[in-house]
Symmetry: D2
Subunit: 342 residues, 4 copies
Amino acid sequence: MSEIDFIPRPDQFVWTFGGAPPVATVQPGDVLRLWTEDAFGGVLQRTDQRPSELLDTRYLNPQTGPFLVAGAEPGDTLAIHLVAVEPARDWAASTTVPFFGGLTATDRTAMLHPALPERTWIYQLDRARRTVLFESTYPTAGGDPLRLELPIDPMLGTVGVAPPLREVRSSLVPDTFGGNMDTPEMRAGVTCYLPVNVEGALFSIGDGHYRQGEGESCGTAVEGAMDVTLIVDLVKGGPDRPAPSWPRIESDDHLVVVGSARPLEDAWRASQVGMIGWLGELYGLDPLDGYQLLTQISLAPLANVVDVNYSALTKLRKDLLPPARAYDGLHADLRARAAALR
Amino acid sequence: MSEIDFIPRPDQFVWTFGGAPPVATVQPGDVLRLWTEDAFGGVLQRTDQRPSELLDTRYLNPQTGPFLVAGAEPGDTLAIHLVAVEPARDWAASTTVPFFGGLTATDRTAMLHPALPERTWIYQLDRARRTVLFESTYPTAGGDPLRLELPIDPMLGTVGVAPPLREVRSSLVPDTFGGNMDTPEMRAGVTCYLPVNVEGALFSIGDGHYRQGEGESCGTAVEGAMDVTLIVDLVKGGPDRPAPSWPRIESDDHLVVVGSARPLEDAWRASQVGMIGWLGELYGLDPLDGYQLLTQISLAPLANVVDVNYSALTKLRKDLLPPARAYDGLHADLRARAAALR
Amino acid sequence: MSEIDFIPRPDQFVWTFGGAPPVATVQPGDVLRLWTEDAFGGVLQRTDQRPSELLDTRYLNPQTGPFLVAGAEPGDTLAIHLVAVEPARDWAASTTVPFFGGLTATDRTAMLHPALPERTWIYQLDRARRTVLFESTYPTAGGDPLRLELPIDPMLGTVGVAPPLREVRSSLVPDTFGGNMDTPEMRAGVTCYLPVNVEGALFSIGDGHYRQGEGESCGTAVEGAMDVTLIVDLVKGGPDRPAPSWPRIESDDHLVVVGSARPLEDAWRASQVGMIGWLGELYGLDPLDGYQLLTQISLAPLANVVDVNYSALTKLRKDLLPPARAYDGLHADLRARAAALR
Amino acid sequence: MSEIDFIPRPDQFVWTFGGAPPVATVQPGDVLRLWTEDAFGGVLQRTDQRPSELLDTRYLNPQTGPFLVAGAEPGDTLAIHLVAVEPARDWAASTTVPFFGGLTATDRTAMLHPALPERTWIYQLDRARRTVLFESTYPTAGGDPLRLELPIDPMLGTVGVAPPLREVRSSLVPDTFGGNMDTPEMRAGVTCYLPVNVEGALFSIGDGHYRQGEGESCGTAVEGAMDVTLIVDLVKGGPDRPAPSWPRIESDDHLVVVGSARPLEDAWRASQVGMIGWLGELYGLDPLDGYQLLTQISLAPLANVVDVNYSALTKLRKDLLPPARAYDGLHADLRARAAALR
């Protein structure tokens, strides 16, 4: 087991899943200490900046990676355990990008409205209090802008591998290969399971959010650079160990499946059928029994309703279920390995 | 303030919002002690019963009501405070209704598949432990059926008023008038605010669930008869006191707006724009500032992805927001009145 | 067989399907000569008029009817044969209603955009040329407004019966009961088959369009009052003569099924499965064979992408199919009866 | 101007838009005489063959190309004029692929149904009569299988260029770059205009259909190998000559814009806004005037409701519009060049 430090130089960023040569080869079990740039490439820094003047769609969501995982083959399952996800700057940014977001006309939900106004919000981080400060652009009824201290809950918008079918997808896309899922569940302490589609898996991460609401309404969370420590591991495939059809996330307390599609009900459906499959693997539970059980215990927080595909979650409390050892207890093992790191 | 007890006789049920004469007239401030039949009219009682043989679409979701609220006029806001929602039987039922549910072809998502198998699950209630028992139909990997004790979290699937535009809607429908929203948030301790569309509001309740997952995957929760205590109140409309465009729910800890539409993203959009409006009313927050704030703090649990319209929520933690007194502090006042009841 | 003339007085209009007493009782086979007001109640007459000042949602799509059809019972099929649909005025109107239409934010596809500008277009009818004149509000590249003579193709936006499940729906709604389907196929010469849901069927018509594009993009076609002659007939139900699940339209050349739902793919799916059912009735064609055949010969023009439900069509050329006598040749019989009328 | 003949060897097929080296470099104005394999790679030949045994998703829709167009740069518009599209075999095939199609559960519209039965239909071509023969698998009411002679209307399912944003997409995908649009409008005699996203455009064609219904219900049309003659041309970009945001098709009689998205209403919206933009370019027509005009004259046939994105069309009759010379009359010029070819 090695520890690998990697801070991408500006010329090392990539903006796709698949299609780029690996920046390094890693072994299953390796610990990676990485730095990720924010979704805007770090250029949005002041509230008077306009995204239409500064941002170029080709350079959003720069990825740290891809990393080639030695021995990973199609049919295997890649496990990414997030040991730590910590703000790497003292500020973060959010903005309204023209024709992008959940409550605006877009290139697909095409309408005749002019774009919403462009505005940028800068969030100052208080490391001691672990909060960021929201400040409204306009004064409120009290005569002052609204200022709210919001607890940080750092997460990664993108964790993804190279897609199947020879495709190369923009780092703005979430799909079966993970990618830009933009779910607050992707925080330190979880293990993310992704299907391996190409030799070496070629995973990358990026798009750190100091916090994000479910749905990511305007399309950009509290976007900030991150220091990320992760452990990569590999579950070899086999007849009784199929790669997951959709990304899975395991925490100490929850099992999660992430579906990504449009319309939004299809994202939810994919996550539900994915979870019924997981319950079948874990307990031998019949699919209709799984359907019934989800009906009564599923949590269904949205991830994003803004990206190329929308992402919805099926999330289960472990304490409502019988004990189970997904992937032979890999998550607990990774937690232990992470605890031993410092 | 009166206390009104009402247990509907079989001939007193109604299956619509709007279109039925009131069973009683109540005054703002009145306390109602009601009983609600389950969604199946009480007929599903054994696991060997098939919904296609026993259920008639015309008699699902029987409503207790409607109640005419004296003085309620279009433009007013009706407040329903749920004091208590308690199981009225020791068992409840769930089932797969042919061509109804989230993971099946339906009359609208029309396909060429035969219907999924019909199965019925009966849940026994343990009042002392406040749990219901899930038991899988088929044995699992361990050789036995899966048995899980699930904590109850009693709620009402339907809380609704008569619709606008002279419409009469089936009690299976959620929309701007509330109705069959099927959200687990509709539990004891909350206040639900609904727009008054017709003289007297004509509200009714029903469709009790001993518990329900977010999304209500198969379409029927842990369906059971309920004893419900509620306080009804009225907020007169005016230029600075508009009726809400979508149902609002207030608890001690959260503000919620419920949107209902298809596709699911539109249900979410409606709830988001509804909440931005509410933040504007509460704080004078500019809509784009509200959009930004929701992006970072919104919770977005699904309600149902099975009904005539799907229902999605925008839910905010009050402790992240400045203190506010929605409707002049009506919820706190109702909580106090409820506490004094016994 | 009687001939019945009916021009509604202003106090006789209704704005719902279901929920209103019949204006007259008719017998199967009767000929009705009717007049229908335009969707705006006749109030939009000049290009400087703004819909937000003149229109009230409660009074849109006034219906002529409902008519009680003697002997019609649930399970029967109502046939409405349109003998003539002719402009009753020399002008018609169209407009952009705030937050209504296909390329604008709406109450459901809720966004933060202000409403699109309100504009009204008035179309003059040239009866001899059978054209209406489109004139653009703004000058074009040539320096003048664009003026286009467009051939009229008169049709009815609404043909509907009372809904099932005790519902009363606004005349703005299309669904299984027909209603506001807004399809250009509803022109003179066709027979529309609708399921009977209540005693007497209670059908009504209205919402004449001098012409309309497929999709009805902005939500209001060339809206004008109409003189309508129709023959009503009844097909009694039975085991081998089920009422159609979705509205059917038969012309001399085509068979059409209209599905209405959101999202739009569900409207299309409903129309496809409806047509596969019709092919089964007509030829005994196996459903998968029907699926294959539709794949190769279905026409799929949109009706509207603006109403409460969107409407999509499955349309087949009769000359590609074996001869068939739907409903024992009722359409041909009605054509003959219509021809004999003058 | 050169004439280029190219029949791909089996090792020369590609299955993506973008990501593959060009098979040849062509000049604007060149005539290409090409052969395209069918969507199944030619392997489905008998009605007893099952797609799940013979088809591999990685090898569907093999493309002939890509061709590098000399001088093509991002911002330019590529014109592909289809001179001839003729069946290259005497038979064609269609089939139901498990979990693919418009009336079945899919990987995204995920459900718990088993797959629909797999069936294959083989169509024999009668070159003299220009028909293919549909034969039902099962006998119909008459006791025999249904046999229908259907006129051929040969078309290409895929015409596409390399995508923007460094993406590589499967040849199963339709999007802004064209691709697997599966519209019957892509027949001989039309000119297709596509945006150039990368140096050389890198266009390819494939997926010939001897005929196809609108919607392509089961997902596979009358799939057959094709002999295709086309002329490629280039419109250099500039401030007044923007590349189209969505694919455009021009025939002698119609203007068409193809939108591809999910849900289906977004595909339609994209095509509508795209056409309003085109009308603006052609006539200087104000967007709201364009919206109004489309409302009254738009045709809206569906293309496919089965692919990764669904495709919908906005289609206008030229004879309802003032004369216009799109791209300086390029289509008429290409028609003349095509006529001179033999």
